[in-house]
Amino acid sequence: MTPTSDRLVFDNVSKFYGEVLGINQVDLSIPPGITSLVGPNGSGKTTIMNLMTGLLQPSQGEVRMLDIRPDNPEKMFRHVGYCTQFDSFPRGVNGHQFLYNYLRVHGHPHSAATEMTERSIARVGLTDAARRRVAAYSKGMRQRIKLAQAIAHEPSVLILDEPLNGLDPMARAEMIDLFRELASTGQHVIISSHILHEVDLISDQVILLNEGYVVAEGDIEGVRTEMSGRPLQILVRCDKPGLLASKVFEHETTVEARMHEDGGGLLISTKDADTFLIAFNRMVLDNEVRVESVTPADADVYAVYQYLITQEGAS
């Protein structure tokens, strides 16, 4: 039962809750790797995840997960694991029972379910607490046991709704390593998160959402480059920032050049980064400027989020 496609596809999908918009006319084709859904509360992140897993049905359009429709759970959930945002568990179960019973409902026999349960619990570092009741777990432990449930059957698509919530820094680092490890084996890891710098660190691609619409998608640098209305900021560390600033101002694509506070660098805004950087190399060579580093200053997800969502919302 090997899937025929490696894509997660949304084809003109809309979801309305009565008259309230969840998401509108969303088209996506998500390749394997780590994909982050980023957006403010109410932007449609959880709606997209619930549509992916069949917990919601689209009002319009079609969702296909690895070419499987979500209304075919017996096939789809062999390949998909979902760590939900909500802390709700069957009453009275301990961590081991929570996973073991879930795997028995999958149809796994006792020995396989036991072995998979223990392996998954060990993977999220909960072996010592496995026989304690889930109701007595801390928020971080509950987050981990949900994650263990999502990965227990070794899915090729892992969907994680705010998976880092409630985790301490050490556990976050461990989880991020786990996500990277899963993605490196060709799996899909879909993450929604408010913690933008962590999203930026781990994502292969991002989907930016606002008020039910996809406002941008792709790898973050590509998204930033396509924002032609927004000058790209470049931070240059060098030994002659004053001289370089005067030369930079002569170039037609330069919008702004500001000296860095410590006098050892220059923050340049340009409306065409590619053209500018070719000319910049010439300026450096001609004026014998010793350059320490050249880095994009606003090509991270935080900056893109600020430009596309915060300011859009404000305007």
């Binding site: 932007s43 959880t46 917990l55 919601l56 999958h106």
Partner: protein, 269 residues
């Protein structure tokens, strides 16, 4: 595929029987089941205190009549009815309120198989509890007031147990579907209770639209419902039981259809 479904239903049974019979949710079930047992205990205790049984209850035929009345009024038409209301209506509704339905919905299981598994577990749980109650009450009454031969005892007990299992099947299917469609389960529970209670006085045609009517053909003895009872020709056993099973099966199909369309809303994102 069949063996996978069977393993999945077994997995559901493991969880759901515990939930229906061995959890806090089962407390109302046990309280209801304790009522006929308590009534039996009081009747026997009072008879023992007074030293002899009332003449109408003495002897095997009196004991049989006493149990028949207790079964009709104290089990079938009241406690068993409300136990099925509680357990079956909460099969899915309880999960929605606990926000734990996604536990099943995120498993690779057909939703109609889920319906079958949850229904079977509740059916087994409620039927077993009330079967034990019926055997205890029957045994206590016949031990004190007098017992017929072994063959009669076994035949009557088997009939009463069959009624319990069939009643759970019929009422269970109705209330599971009601729990899926209705936000407030009290209204259908009261309406069905009223309909089943007045069944005795309904014209023959209307009687047929009730669970209790089809169970009558299983009763080992006739008890009069009073001078205003409208007599209707009972349904033959060979039609009644298969018809009952088909009705329950159709009701489960409706539940399966509804559960396939069901959505889980977690929170505003």
């Amino acid at each position: 595929m069949k063996s996978l479904w069977w393993r999945q239903i077994q997995g559901i049974l493991r969880l759901e029987v515990r939930k229906s019979v061995f959890s806090a949710r089962a407390l109302p079930l046990y309280l209801l089941a304790a009522i006929p047992a308590a009534v039996t205990f009081i009747v026997v205790a009072v008879s023992m205190i007074y030293g002899e049984a009332p003449p109408e209850f003495s002897g095997p035929s009196g004991a049989t009549m006493l149990f028949a009345v207790l079964f009709q009024l104290g089990i079938l038409r009241s406690t068993l009815y409300f136990a099925t209301v509680w357990i079956f209506m909460n099969l899915f509704r309880g999960e929605v309120l606990d926000r734990s339905l996604h536990y099943y919905f995120l498993s690779p299981i057909r939703r109609d198989v889920l319906v079958a598994g949850k229904f079977a577990s509740a059916w087994v749980g409620v039927s077993l509890v009330f079967s034990v109650v019926a055997v205890v009450c029957y045994g206590a009454i016949h031990m004190y007031f007098g017992s017929a031969g072994l063959g009669t005892v076994v035949g009557q007990l088997a009939a009463y147990l069959a009624i319990i299992w069939m009643a759970c099947l019929g009422y269970g299917a109705i209330f599971m579907v009601a729990g899926l469609f209705m936000r407030n389960p009290v209204i259908p529970a009261i309406l069905v209770f009223f309909w089943e209670s007045v069944n005795t006085f309904l014209p023959g045609l209307l009687k047929k639209f009730s669970v209790i009517f089809y169970l009558q053909s299983l009763f080992p003895i006739d008890i009069s419902e009073g001078p205003v009872e409208i007599i209707a020709e009972p349904v033959p056993l060979w039609i009644g039981i298969p018809g009952f099973i088909v009705f329950s099966g159709l009701t489960l199909l409706v539940a399966g259809y509804q559960i396939r369309r069901m959505e889980v809303h977690y929170a505003e994102d």
